[in-house]
């Protein structure tokens, strides 16, 4: 071992110089930067605040206005124009839940299938695949009323000719949210690292085995979240449903194929809200609260799923 040698004058100078230098660099943030930093953070905070305030105001107003009508009758009783004190949303709620079930049954295989094709099989140097991709992105931005017209022309009448039944409404909503599901599923599939696919293929797995056993299971949380968010959107849609038959004031429980009409929560709320009398306004507000509860339940489900199964790569 070498003996200890006290630092020379030169070393001490050099060290002191370096220290002073470092201190100067670390200690002096330019004033302009400080101001810009704070202003920007403030603006971002404001944006969040405005968004939250809007939501809070809506909730508060709905709860306050609907308070007299909040009760179990909301989910157990059919709507009524005579006995408004005991009226509810039962057929509309059942209609909405049934449609959700059908929408899920339709969009999961179609959306995930399309996403698998685009991510795992399609050669995206080909123009037709790029065209499909571009179209899906555009479709996600098409106004929902257009889907209503499509549903009316192709599902209620036209080639499918189903008539004004609940299933026709469900198919229309499924088409409406399909692009969202495809995009979310693609994201989830793309998030699975290529090294996982390589590992599987290197073991002699086929492409389908790799997709089916490795990629899809790893993508499930993302896919499920996308599906629930898409369904949340579907549940709130009114415009397309008005075109495909959900306009009637339904007082009995709907069936998927029943030709006597069906309703959905937002449509029923719309029905009440268009009437001028006070008690109907109250019912509309109570309906909004009911719908928000359903939506919140579904979104909590999405968050729970994501946290439960999320894969950290």
């Amino acid at each position: 071992m070498e003996a200890y040698r006290p630092p020379t004058e030169r070393t001490r100078f050099a060290v002191a110089g370096a220290r002073a230098n470092v201190a100067a660099v670390l200690g002096s943030q330019p004033r302009g930067d400080v101001i810009r930093n704070n202003v920007f953070a403030g603006l971002l905070g404001l944006a969040v605040l405005i968004a939250l305030a809007g939501l809070a105001a809506l909730l508060a107003q709905a709860v306050v206005e609907g308070a007299p009508a909040l009760g179990t009758n909301l989910i157990t009783e059919p709507p009524s124009t005579i006995d408004t004190a005991n009226a509810g949303f039962r057929p509309a709620l059942i209609g909405s839940l049934m449609m959700i079930a059908f929408v899920i049954v339709l969009i999961v295989p179609l959306g995930v299938g399309a996403a698998i094709y685009l991510e795992e099989y399609a050669d995206n140097t080909r123009w037709w695949n790029r065209l499909i991709e571009l179209n899906i992105q555009n479709l996600a931005a098409v106004p929902s009323i257009i889907y209503g017209i499509l549903g009316l022309g192709f599902i209620v009448r036209g080639p499918l000719d189903l008539g004004f039944i609940l299933l026709a409404g469900a198919i229309t909503l499924a088409l409406l949210v399909l692009p969202v599901v495809i995009i979310a599923s693609r994201e989830a599939i793309r998030a699975v690292p290529p090294s996982i696919r390589e590992g599987s293929l290197a073991l002699g797995a086929t492409r389908w085995q790799t997709t089916r056993r490795q990629v899809l299971p790893a993508a499930i949380p993302g896919v499920a979240t996308g599906v629930i968010l898409a369904v949340s959107r579907a549940i709130g849609e009114t415009a397309p449903l008005l075109l495909v038959g959900a306009t009637v004031f339904v007082t009995f429980d709907p069936t998927p194929l029943g030709a006597n009409g069906y309703s959905a929560l937002p449509v029923q709320i719309f029905q009440y809200a268009t009437r001028p009398q006070e008690e109907f306004q109250t019912m509309a507000a109570a309906g909004i609260v009911l719908m928000l509860v359903v939506l919140l339940a579904m979104n909590s489900g999405a968050i729970w799923l994501r946290n439960r199964y999320e894969q950290k790569w």
Binding site: I196, G199, L201, G204, A205, R213, A218
Partner: protein, 282 residues
Amino acid sequence: MTQEHPSIAIAAQARGHHAPPMSREKVFEIEDLSVHYGDKPAVKNIGMDILHKNITALIGPSGCGKSTLIRCLNRMNDLIPSARVDGRLLYHGEDLYGPNVDPIQVRKLIGMVFQKPNPFPKSIYDNIAFGPRIVGMAGDMDEIVEGALRRAAIWDEVKDRLNDNAFGMSGGQQQRLCIARCIAVEPDVILMDEPCSALDPISTGKIEDLMTELKEDYSIVIVTHNMQQAARVSDMTAFLIVELTADERERWGEIVEYDETEKIFTNPSDQRTEDYVTGKVG
């Protein structure tokens, strides 16, 4: 016969083996092989015979095409649309790129371990069982899994947590799990592309010991940037280098020298090999 160069960094006694290659049976015969990505060459004029039940090391500077070459051996390059392989590559005398050869079947016989450990996001047990299941291996799955983990010298570390997610293991354990996963399907050849580059010296040592054990039954081809590692574990070594056209428009990898590891590291015939293995360049 082995004349010691004073400049060689690795002392002969530090190397794990001194015996000549154990077997002379050829597992791969490569003749005039070249690979292009698009119209750019990656490797050219590759000719070498890889011996059965031996460890063959590929060394050379970055970008000389070691990964490209090793990925030809189990047709992983088929997965890159722009890659094109020309020349002859025989596997036990059969043309690996012949018209009737199914790359899926090839990969069942010729497994691969990658640079970055890539366990599946599943339990340790399912990581191992995946391969045997898709290959449709007969026998008790528990025994297959235990056997593979034992052979990969990781059984004792994981036997109590087979149902835990493989992502909870250390990097070195993950890499040995990947090796176990590879040998679970009982391949004939194991290809390893820089299997230890993400690992600490102790894990690296474990994997090197493992390789020496595995070569009793398997042919192993390993790409490594670690000269000591190549010298320690391999029987044969190929040194590749990047060649340039005069105008430097094109660059590709070529084999400079391929010989017994002993010879490459103690008495190379090419000056460039000597410079590289002694650390003068690269």
